[in-house]
Symmetry: none
Subunit: 415 residues, 2 copies
């Protein structure tokens, strides 16, 4: 018996509410998706609440749940997941922060949170920043990586640190940077906040006169003269999917967070050229990379961010067109999959309704196609069809056990 495989396609924020002007349909409902429709018709469909009905999940919460870990139990902040997504190595207890390369004036008032959307020179700046040793914490080590554009990740490594500290980034311009404050009474939170504040001040001292910034100012660009940390987090305590189910997993994603969650869950990250996380991403390249990864993995997660980007833009037609692009890309690899041993699952991590332009608590549509899966017979994959589907209404946490069960990797509870 050939061992079964599964392709899990996650269209970020694809779920939506119905719009009257589009015939009481959603972007998925009006999009031309012949491939998803065929998979839905000969497979099962249903609704899935990423966390629970009406609960609005952030991307970190939603992705954590879809990979089978209850974020209400094991959520440890954003920073740890971002650091993992950037390929950094965290030990339990290390505290990581998402950071911006930003521009402040001499009084530490934020001029530009993105330092003129800096594109080049960030790795040289990161190298300088990595040498900072904040005072007051014995044996403290610092790791720092520039990621994409004005973004970076800071990791503080020492014993007795805590993620319970507030942001330095004020999340707006024209105001002073904030002081990181401890969020609980622990000594470790006080110690960490002090270290973060000292790190920020040292970064300002070093970066003011950094060659990259001197050049930027000469060119009339805003200097990346300070590092502003936010979203402190530690490594979440996920038991890897390989250990839980014996699943050998690959993940194809552009977004650092999704890469991070997957990596901590034990997935191999497969890079794809032109995968941008934007509307212009390399749809076909990602699909073909998924096909290739299925050759030596049990489960391949194919994540596309563009649906969420269009959703945040509030553009119904653009969102429908992104969905069509994903459908078409997946359709190109379907003929190469062995139908007798391959499961294809299509869903979203959460809903981002056009009318809300932000994540909502609406359930997402889910389709599961593969050997032994009951046929729904629906003619279209959509929220409306899924709401009357043969899977009923599931939770995000149900997804990974269902996949493991179909792949015959589930462990029996009891005898």
């Amino acid at each position: 018996m050939t061992s079964s495989k599964a392709l899990l396609v996650i269209c970020d924020g694809m779920g939506d509410r119905v719009e009257r002007e589009f015939g009481d349909e959603t972007p998925l409902g009006v999009a031309k998706t012949p491939n998803f429709d065929r998979l839905a018709s000969s497979g099962s469909v249903g609704l899935m609440d990423p966390i629970g009905p009406g609960i609005r999940p952030g991307s970190d919460y939603a992705t954590t749940a879809l990979l089978g870990y209850d974020p209400r139990v094991c959520y440890t902040g954003r920073g740890g997941l971002e650091a993992a997504g950037a390929g950094m190595t965290l030990k339990p207890g290390d505290v990581a922060f998402r950071c911006n390369f930003s521009t402040v004036d001499d009084k530490l008032t934020v001029i530009d949170r993105r330092a003129g959307r800096i594109e080049h020179g960030t790795s040289e700046i990161a190298e300088a920043v990595r040498k900072i040793r904040p005072k007051g914490v014995k044996g403290l080590e610092v790791d720092f990586q520039a990621t994409i554009a004005h973004r970076g990740v800071l990791v503080l490594k020492a014993r007795g640190l805590s993620r319970m500290v507030s942001d330095v980034d004020p999340h707006e311009t024209g105001v002073k940077i904030l002081r990181s404050e401890p969020l609980d009474d622990s000594t470790s939170a006080k110690r960490t906040a002090a270290a973060v504040n000292d790190f920020v001040m040292q970064s300002f001292k070093i970066l003011k006169n950094h060659p990259v910034n001197i050049k930027r100012v000469q060119e009339g660009k805003r200097p990346a003269n300070i590092i502003l940390p936010r979203g402190a987090g530690t490594l979440p305590p996920f038991t890897p999917l390989r250990e839980l189910y014996g699943l050998n997993v690959a993940c194809i994603a552009a977004v650092a967070l999704v890469k991070g969650v997957s990596r901590v869950a034990g997935a191999e990250l497969v890079p794809v050229e032109g995968a941008t996380g934007g509307l212009d991403t390399n749809y076909d390249g990602k699909a073909y990379a998924a096909l290739k990864a299925l050759g030596n993995h049990d489960l391949v997660i194919l994540h596309v961010k563009a649906t969420d980007v269009a959703s945040h833009d509030g553009d119904f037609k653009k969102k429908a067109s992104v969905i069509e692009k994903i459908d078409m890309a997946v359709g190109k690899i379907l003929p190469s999959l062995d139908a007798a041993s391959t499961y294809v699952i299509v869903t979203a991590d959460h809903s981002t309704p056009i009318s809300v332009r932000d994540h909502s608590g609406n359930p997402v549509p889910l389709l599961i196609n593969g050997p032994g899966v009951p046929k729904s017979g629906v003619s279209k994959f959509s929220e409306n069809a899924a709401s009357r589907g043969n899977l009923g209404r599931l939770h995000g946490l149900d997804l990974m056990p269902i996949i493991a069960d179909y792949l015959d990797k589930a462990k029996k509870l009891g005898f």
Copy 2:
């Protein structure tokens, strides 16, 4: 008002996945089940996840959940349930083991885990074994019962014992018996493991020259010269259904485990001649016993193992034919039930798909028929029909509250 009654028919492992060669249907879907179909059509149908979607339950987990106890909270191993099923009396703290009468050579290598499938003489052997007093545990008492064929149950009774000990039975032949090892750091686990090991060695010493075995060897049969314990367990902390709901329950089952769970839940066990737990069981006899038991019980559980036996054999047609036999047997007693006051529920404890030949995490079909129950109008009782049924998708733990509610035995929470 006549007080209502309920008949709960549990077809072990009946749930299945669809098979393409049988028209994308399951064994239940193709079986001719006019009685179940009528009950389904004039009652409600839905899917039920014994534990949760995708979760593969053992029989102990599944039966515990269906009787309304959360196995994720109150599971205490298999041994206690088997002992209860064998009619033995356990106190909290007593540790019970499933045992085989087995054959080993002088070096304790297992020749036959089932002692030549011994049929006779096991109660004499049990009597000898019951006298063993393992060393090292103050006040330790031993109970031992031969159950069916090569099977028995050992109960160790003393203070300070633990079920956290490993099996002596190596579950294969040609290897040495194992030493029971403590599975945690507790003194009670170490003490229990030592007692089990001493019990096993004493059983070997006593049984080598037991008259039953001397005779077996003379007849060229394998001697039952050792007792191999496995599956340590204690009495699960179930509050009886009578106490929870005021339900007076009877259980008709051949399988020791199901009898055990039901007995600990407070059910009266009704023996039926010819109820074997096999394909050849006395279907009609069990149904008529259920009819009789309904005379003086609120709830009668009628459990049939044969569906699971056919499933583990991977025989689709045989499974369908077993389902037809159950349908026919239940059909014979339906006319004698007072439709105005009787609920009939038909479901499975878990799925055992033909294609898997083991328990799976697929949901099971459920039908509930009786006064006040909404009509589904489906034409066939099947997983496919149930997946679009009017009960939606329930959990195993929901079943007993629903039954108690219809029987007007449910207690109100709050005022």
